[in-house]
């Protein structure tokens, strides 16, 4: 938002070590996320991207290492303080994780009601504005999650994640399972929210289109650590087998598109 907050990291991870049984996922991993970032976490399947995302908001603890969220250690302070810190972040889970017993309206109203002290009229206004924000119509509010399509589930889940106007938004595979048009629209939506709300966004993706359309910074997770961070071009320029391999496909697609255009 303001200039003085521009340089301190929103998330600061240092020396993260994680393992599942004998299998190391992260070793001595360092990562900083700054205010205003649209950071893409990319890496192969099973590289621990989602694990890293979960660790950022204390859904899972690393075996070693320190994590700071909004400049404070994740575990610091009494329970109420830890929970308040967590509420400043919104999360969009891969499958949406909507409460299937609640309507769309109640799903989005849930974090607001948890907050306490709000009038029903105010909750209504907040929910309706969130629906408008994610381009859903008011009549969708009374549907149950089971009645929604995949793209709508993502948008409702995003609306719920945005209910408290968080400063930080974590997205796990935001465009997975959406068709190219929907995924392009979803990317556009997140971009506009990022500008409008001054959000910091961290997202995990496998989709190179999403990556190039959304990210203003890229972090490549491979070999148990962050191989490179920077703009897409900077990361692309790094000479490493994994990165070359990962982006080779992208350039192949790009070239194919060009030849097709030339041919037609």
């Amino acid at each position: 938002m303001s200039e003085r907050e521009g340089h301190s990291p929103v998330i600061r991870m240092r020396g993260i070590q994680t393992r599942y049984g004998p299998h190391w996922v992260h070793q001595d991993l360092d990562l900083d996320v700054y205010r205003g970032d649209l950071l893409a976490l990319v890496g192969g399947s099973g590289a621990g991207k989602t694990t890293l995302l979960r660790q950022m908001i204390d859904l899972q603890r690393p075996d070693a290492g320190s994590i700071e969220l909004f400049g404070e250690p994740l575990q610091a302070g009494p329970r109420a303080e830890r929970f308040a810190r967590r509420r400043r972040a919104g999360v969009l889970f891969q499958q949406g994780a909507l409460f299937s017993a609640f309507t769309v309206y109640d799903n989005i109203a849930f974090p607001l009601r948890e907050c306490g002290g709000l009038h029903e009229d105010e909750i209504l206004a907040m929910v309706m504005s969130r629906l408008e924000l994610v381009q859903l119509k008011p009549q969708h509010a009374m549907l149950m999650p089971a009645q929604l399509s995949g793209g709508m589930i993502k948008r409702v889940a995003l609306a719920r994640a945005l209910a408290l106007e968080p400063e930080l938004l974590l997205l796990d595979e935001p465009t997975a399972g959406l068709d190219p048009e929907r995924s392009a629209r979803f990317v556009e939506l997140i971009r506009s929210l990022h500008e409008g709300l001054g959000l910091t966004v961290v997202f995990v993706t496998h989709d190179l289109d999403t990556l190039s359309a959304l990210a203003n910074r890229v972090a490549v997770l491979a070999e148990h650590r962050i191989l490179a961070t920077g703009s897409l071009e900077e990361v692309h320029a790094v000479d490493h087998p994994f990165i070359n391999n990962f982006f080779r496909y992208r350039s192949a697609v790009g070239e194919r598109d060009e030849t097709e255009e030339a041919g037609s």
Binding site: G116, G117, L118, L124, S129, E132, L164
Partner: protein, 380 residues
């Protein structure tokens, strides 16, 4: 060190406040939801006091404002916003995000006089749909049996054996324990009464007929309905939620052949065995207690039992077991297949499955008692 200072600055941001300065209302501090919440009552009251149309509003001292903060002000201003509001573009954006929705209020739902009629109607239709689904499933399972007789190659032996192991063998410890303890209790209470009449030897008749004919089958059925019935419903329900049942259908595999049929058959086979096992445990419990309280030797108990309990009682008990087992499995599968893909439906159906199974078992037991009233009861 810098980050720490920054964090301090954030957490010690001035709380939201509102003051009247001449003809102006000056807002200060952090007007975000979490900062507002502790002072919401006071701020609401203060906002209500402002005569909004005459005043000028100054938001330049507000450090942050989110959509909720904007909503509070918009609702205070009403439909006509004050002529002069001093705020930055970022603050204006927060107002824009909520402005369209700000004056909506909850729609009044008209009182529905017909709702009692509708409740009854829905209940009847629900019962009818249950009956329809259950009959359909029963028919399909029977057809499946015929199909398997023609093509025995398709008999799902693995599924059957897995179900037999899970619902039968794994239920043995708990049913033995419960049976033994019930046997002890029953024997103890009967012994106290019988001793008053000097009719100690009759305890063998009471325990024998009571346990073998009635208590064994019903006790096991209730245990199995709670244990395996709920498991079957939950398993099928989760398979429904995760689309596994659709995947089976897509591969051209009949769900009734592969999922329902083995479970029904397994319970129909396992239940008589469990009934025998539990009755045995209950008789053992009764025998131990009778020996301790009434000095009835185990050998005597064993030698008299066949004489006072006609063998028909055992057949009735085992038949009951098979029928109850079939009923429990069918009911559990019925509710499992009715689960809709959400958590609420899963839990509701599991509950309904267990309750219905236990109720039906007891109804069937009453039916059995009526049909077999002349069989196996020695009348002297």
């Amino acid at each position: 060190m810098k980050t720490r200072a920054h964090a301090e600055a954030l957490s010690h941001a001035p709380p939201p406040s509102l003051a009247r300065e001449g003809s102006r209302v000056v807002l200060r501090g952090d007007w975000c939801l979490f900062a507002l919440r502790p002072r919401l009552l006071i701020l609401r009251a203060q906002l209500r006091l402002q005569t909004q149309h005459l005043t000028e509003w100054d938001l330049s001292a507000v450090t942050r404002i989110d959509a909720f903060g904007a909503l509070l002000l918009l609702r205070c201003w009403g439909k006509t916003e004050p002529a002069s509001v001093i705020m930055s573009d970022i603050q204006r954006a927060a107002f824009d995000r909520i402005r369209n929705a700000a004056h909506q209020s909850l729609p009044h739902t008209p009182i529905d006089w017909l709702s009692p009629v509708r409740v009854v109607g829905e209940w009847v239709l629900g019962a009818a749909s249950h009956l329809y689904d259950f009959t359909t499933m029963l028919g399909l399972v029977v057809l499946e049996v015929l199909r398997l007789v023609i093509e025995p190659r398709n008999i799902p032996f693995k599924e059957f054996s897995a179900a037999l192991y899970k619902t039968g063998l794994r239920a043995m410890p708990i049913s033995a324990l419960v049976g033994f303890l019930i046997g002890v209790v029953l024997s103890y209470l009967s012994a106290l009464q019988l001793r008053n009449f000097g009719a100690e030897a009759l305890i063998i008749n009471i325990l024998g007929i009571g346990i073998i004919r009635e208590l064994g089958p019903v006790l096991v059925s209730i245990l199995v309905a709670g244990r395996s019935g709920s498991a079957i419903t939950a398993q099928l329900g989760v398979m429904r939620v995760t689309e596994e049942i659709d995947a089976l259908s897509a591969m051209g595999v009949s769900r009734h052949q592969r999922l329902v049929w083995p479970k029904v058959l397994a319970l129909a086979c396992a239940m008589p065995l469990l009934v025998a096992w539990t009755s045995l445990a209950a008789l053992a419990g009764g025998m131990v207690c009778a020996q301790l309280l009434l000095d009835i030797e185990w050998a005597y108990f064993f030698s008299v039992l066949p004489n006072v309990v006609p063998i028909e009682n055992l057949y009735i008990g085992l038949a009951k077991g098979a029928v109850f087992g079939t009923a429990i499995a069918l009911i559990a599968c019925h509710f499992g297949l009715r689960v809709k893909p959400n958590t609420e439906s899963l839990s509701a159906n599991t509950t309904a499955s267990v309750v219905t199974a236990i109720t039906s078992v007891i109804l069937l037991d009453a039916l059995f008692a009526m049909l077999t009233r002349g069989i196996g009861v020695p009348l002297r």
